[in-house]
Each structure stands twice: as structure tokens, then as C-alpha cells.
């Protein structure tokens, strides 16, 4: 007789995201959500640590899973919305582990991320990438764009974060780094400038980048815009303005869009950033947008936050994003 497993507590067991089955690429099925890590932070200009985020976010996700697994009938009710969450564990969500990473070789790492993401989309699955610093969005979005373009479509890029990613060639970092993601996406032809939208940048930007935005047709919603309009309306605005003619949207969720008071575990120090509630409302809109075909969650640096709440928040936001689209976590 075999030993029977009960619900695992959040600190027990091997941490895959949401205790999803660990699988390899060849087992991916169309319609699945593939959690995949890109633990790369070499292109971080200041405090590193995002290389530890995939593992930390996986661990942080076990908390809610335990609640679901140990609840009667595996149901939880969201007190704000009244929505019932069910844990059905149908295998819609799978964990691919981490992509190959070469910390002292930016190009080789980028190729790994681009190929990995492309293969997930080619197999009909939804890539949910755990970064990594914000640079990983560049190769991952390019991987998705390749497939979308091949199929005759156009991809929009909606990015959350405190920075614009519009840096040109930099004397220290060169062309491809965390500060140049959007510029490189446009330059490489992966995304048209009109199909770019930022949600949440704040602070100062170089004049040249400001001018670029004014002439590019891209959409900028600053942190202040979000404070005024709310996370949901600002996100709807971004989707409406930037996705004309697009049948697919890549969303990059830089956790540095949040104020450091709420998310201390991020490389930059952000003053005037979003609140978790604002970002939660934004994610709720994205979760119900069928054109979103890929999501990354980047810039969590867990060791800068001994409280662990930044990684927890990241995993909660992923839960919120998955709930409407995954049979594993279906609203009843």
C-alpha cells in the first residue's frame, strides 16, 4: 500500500509554481499556461537580485495553494468581489522550470529566452515568464512576436514599470540591457511604436526620450495618471490606444511600477509608484483581455525584502491574472 499525500503546507514540498506539475517542453499541450523562469539580472544597473525571483515567486505561490488545497471543496471566496475560486488542478498550469542562463553572456542568454518563449507559443501554450531584470522582456517579447508575425498578426507591448526603457546605446551597457527594452523592440521591428504603451513610469526622463514618446505614437500613462484614473481605467486606456490592428498583446509586469513602500524587494527605489490595489485593478483588466498572449513578471529582488511581501505580491498578482483563464483556478 502506498503512502498517501495530504495537502502540503506552504513551507513543505518541492516548490513549483502553484504546485503545478513540472514538465519539459515536449510535454506542453495547447491551451496550457507555461510558467517559466528567466533568472538573469546581469543587465541591472543598480542593485541586483532578480536572478533569485523565479524561485522566490514559486515559493510565495504555495501559500494560497495551501489554502485552496486544505479548504473544504477546495473553494475560496474573494471578500471584495464575491468571486469563488476553485482549485481543480486540471493541469492547465504547468511549470517548465528555468530557461538556460549565462550570466556573463547577455547575447547567449537572450537567445535562450527568445527561443524558449517562441517554442512555448509555437506549441500553443501561454508563456508566463518569471524574470529576471526588465531586460528579459526584450528577448521574450521578440520570441512571441516572431510567432505572431509569422501568423500574419501584429503584437502590442504593454509595459508596467518605473522606467521607460528608451535608452539608446550606452557607453557602459551597450545596446541591450534593462534600460533599452522598448527602444530595441521597436528598432528590431518586433513591435511598432504605435503599439507600445507604458503604465506607471514616474520621475525624470532624458529630454530625448521624452521627445521620442511625443513623436512615436506610443501611449504613456504615468503613475500620476494611474493615481487619478485608477488602475482599471488607465489599463483600459492603454489597451484601447495601443492595440489598434493588433490581435495579440504581450504584457510586461515590472514590479518596480510599485512604490518601494509596498514593494521593497525591487532594485530601484521608487517614490510615488503604484499601490498594490491599483496594480491589482490593472491586472484584473488584463486577465479578462483575450488578446493577451504572454505575460512576464520582472524586477523582483527577493533578498532586498526580508519580509518576503514583494514576492508574495508578485505571486498573488499572477494568481489574479490566471483565475479567469485557467481551469486550475476557475471562478465558480
Amino acid at each position: 500500500m502506498s503512502w498517501e499525500r495530504g495537502p502540503l503546507l506552504s513551507f513543505a514540498g518541492i516548490a513549483t509554481f502553484m504546485r503545478a506539475p513540472a514538465v519539459d517542453f515536449d510535454a506542453l499541450q495547447p491551451g496550457q499556461v507555461a510558467i517559466v523562469g528567466a533568472p538573469f539580472d546581469t543587465t541591472t544597473a543598480w542593485r541586483q537580485g532578480a536572478r533569485y525571483a523565479p524561485r522566490a515567486i514559486r515559493e510565495a505561490s504555495l501559500h494560497v495553494v495551501y489554502w485552496l488545497d486544505s479548504a473544504y471543496e477546495s473553494e475560496l471566496v474573494d471578500l471584495e468581489s464575491g468571486t469563488t475560486l476553485q482549485r481543480t488542478a486540471t493541469g492547465t498550469v504547468v511549470d517548465l522550470g528555468d530557461l538556460n542562463v549565462y550570466p556573463n553572456q547577455v547575447t547567449r542568454s537572450a537567445e535562450s529566452f527568445q527561443h524558449g518563449t517562441r517554442e512555448i507559443v509555437e506549441r500553443g501554450a501561454f508563456p508566463l515568464v518569471l524574470g529576471g531584470d526588465h531586460f528579459v522582456s526584450l528577448p521574450c517579447c521578440r520570441g512571441v512576436a516572431e510567432v505572431v508575425t509569422q501568423r500574419g498578426g501584429m503584437l502590442a507591448f504593454i509595459t508596467f514599470g518605473c522606467e521607460l526603457g528608451l535608452a539608446g546605446e550606452d557607453p557602459v551597457w551597450g545596446t541591450d540591457w534593462s534600460g533599452s527594452v522598448v527602444r530595441r523592440l521597436v528598432e528590431t521591428g518586433a513591435v511598432d511604436a504605435r503599439n507600445i504603451a507604458w503604465v506607471g513610469p514616474s520621475g525624470l526622463a532624458p529630454r530625448a526620450e521624452w521627445d521620442w514618446i511625443q513623436h512615436s505614437g506610443a501611449t504613456l500613462l504615468t503613475a500620476e495618471d494611474v493615481h487619478r484614473q485608477g488602475g482599471a481605467d488607465a489599463t483600459r486606456h492603454a489597451l484601447t490606444s495601443a492595440t489598434t490592428d493588433c490581435d495579440a498583446v504581450y504584457v510586461s509586469l515590472g514590479m518596480d511600477v510599485l512604490d518601494s513602500a509596498h514593494a521593497p524587494g525591487i532594485g530601484p527605489a521608487v517614490i510615488g509608484g503604484l499601490t498594490p490595489t491599483e496594480l491589482g485593478h490593472a491586472v484584473a483588466v488584463l486577465a479578462r483581455e483575450p488578446r493577451v498572449v504572454a505575460l512576464d513578471v520582472v524586477e523582483v529582488a527577493p533578498h532586498l525584502d526580508p519580509s518576503g511581501r514583494t514576492a508574495r505580491l508578485a505571486s498573488n498578482l499572477i494568481f489574479d491574472f490566471l483565475a479567469p483563464r485557467s481551469a486550475d483556478l476557475s471562478p465558480a
Binding site: T43, Q48, Y102, P103, N104, V172, W173, G174
Partner: protein
Amino acid sequence: MHQRSHQPSFAGVSGFLRSPLADYADVGPGAVTILGAPHDTTCSSRQGARFGPTGIRAASQYLGDLFRRGDGDLVDLATGQVFHRPGAGMLLDMGDLPVQPTDVVRTTASIREGVAESTARGGFPVTLGGDHYISYPAFLGFSDAFCGSNRDQRIGFIQMDSHFDLGDINLVWGRYWHGSNARRISEVDVVNPANMVWIGVNGVTRGEQYEFAKGMGLTFFTGEDVRQLGIVEVVRRALEIAGNGTEAIYLSLDIDVVDALFAPGTGAVVWGGIRPADLLAAMDLIGAANVRAMDLVEVAPNLDPTEATARLASLAVIHLTAPRLFGARRP
């Protein structure tokens, strides 16, 4: 006008041990030159050594402050050793060398150039890392300037470290990273592996590196050797080997040679390391020998909120350079 008075250790803008910020043109013969190499992209363990130069400079301020009190002499209560305040121009902080975190090749060239320039002007280069990879370009720069075109000269090499760093080509990191620096140094034409000595290695190592160390005729004293023989005897033997037929000795000090109990602010976690008192005794002995350059690597201040690791690192530099810097004499 605001008259500047002496500032306490936590105030003011200054270099290592309150030294002035200098340029290469200021470097004269015999000057100890501090060069930061804040590069940690080639670190395979926990990062943060990019903050090493800044952390070590900050940690040295309290001692710099002590020198200005009284008559400028400091006495080591344990040994009676006297440290004089450095004379003008004897200690210069060159700031940090340019690094390109995503470009190991350019960073290598930059560190090599800076150390060579300082050495060529008669300076004693103290390169503050950074992860241990920077040891390789720092050694190249030193040997470029010290040996010049006279490649018959030999440079002895002492590495104090919990690890060999004798890896060759790694599947993830390639040829240049903080596990291959000593291997690359062993290939430099002015280095005879018979003059290479390790002090403090412990724990496990890859079989490939162990066989290489054995096969090339390198000498190593483990952490256990230090405990059995005593640091004085180990360093005496090491200096004999590194000094045998060589024109100069290069010292590479990885702070993780010290047990993690005492020096937690580093990427590796080591439980067979030596004690701080042994490290400082070794610095006194090596500093009195024909050492002409050093690097100090793998200090990651972000991993040690007590700052003890950076303080120990700054003390190691002070002890090693004491004969040049402070005219330190034993009682």
C-alpha cells in the same frame, strides 16, 4: 568663509583611509595606489562584490580618523607595532577603474590598463574587487608594467582563498570568470607554477582542479594546515616558494579565506576558513617580504549588515601595506 575643521569618520568625502582622490600624474615611486574594480558579473555565487570598493573605503574611514588624533602614531595593543600616519603622496586613491558589467573583454582591458599605469609610475597597486575574476586582469597589468619586455623575469604568486580558482572552460561561464582567474594567471609567461602557492583552501573542489594543481607542481596549504602548522610557519614556507628565483610576489586575497563566521559579507559560505587574526598575521609577514602588488576580492558589503567583513578587508590592506605606508616597525 566656512572654515573646514577635521571631520569625524562618518563625514566628508575621501578615499581609502582618508587618502586624497588622485590621478595617475600624482603617482610617484613607492606610493600605495588604491584602485577599485567594481565588477561582479563573473561571480557564480551571491553577487554584491561590485559594492566592495565603496564598502571597503567606507569601512576604512574610522581608522583614518584615528590617525588625526594625538601625534599621528597608532600602536597595536597586541603586538606593540607602531603605525605612523602616512606621509604626503604615499597613499593615493585612484577611484574606480571603468567597468562594463555586460562586457568582460572591455572590463578586462580597463583593469589591466589602470593597474599597469599605476605600476609603471612606481606605485604599489592595491586593486579592490569586484569578484575574483578581476585578479587576472590586475595581474596582467602588474606584470605588463613590472616585467615590460623582459619576459625572463619571474613573478611569484600567493593566493589566500578557500578556493583554487583553477577552473578552465566552464559550460555556463566560459573562459573568463571567478573560477578561472588563477588558471589564467598560471598561463602567463612570467609565471612558473612552481612559484604559485595557495593558503587556506578548504572544502571540496572539482577533481579537474585538484588534478591540475597536483600535476602543475603548485603548492597549497589547506585551512587545516594553517590550524596544524600555525599561520606563521605556513606563510614562511609560502614566501620561500613564491620568492624562490622571482623578482616580485603578487598577492591575491579572497576574503572568503576567512571563515563565514567572521566574514559573512561574501558570496561563498565557508566553514573551514581561517581566523581574522591569522589573516592579519599573514598580511604582516607577506607585507614585510618582496610583495609588489595585491588584489583584495569578493567583499560583498550588502551581505553583511554588521559591516565587519568590509572592516576586516580594510584592515588586511592596512597590515599588508604597513611597512610602505606607515613605516610600521615592530617594537
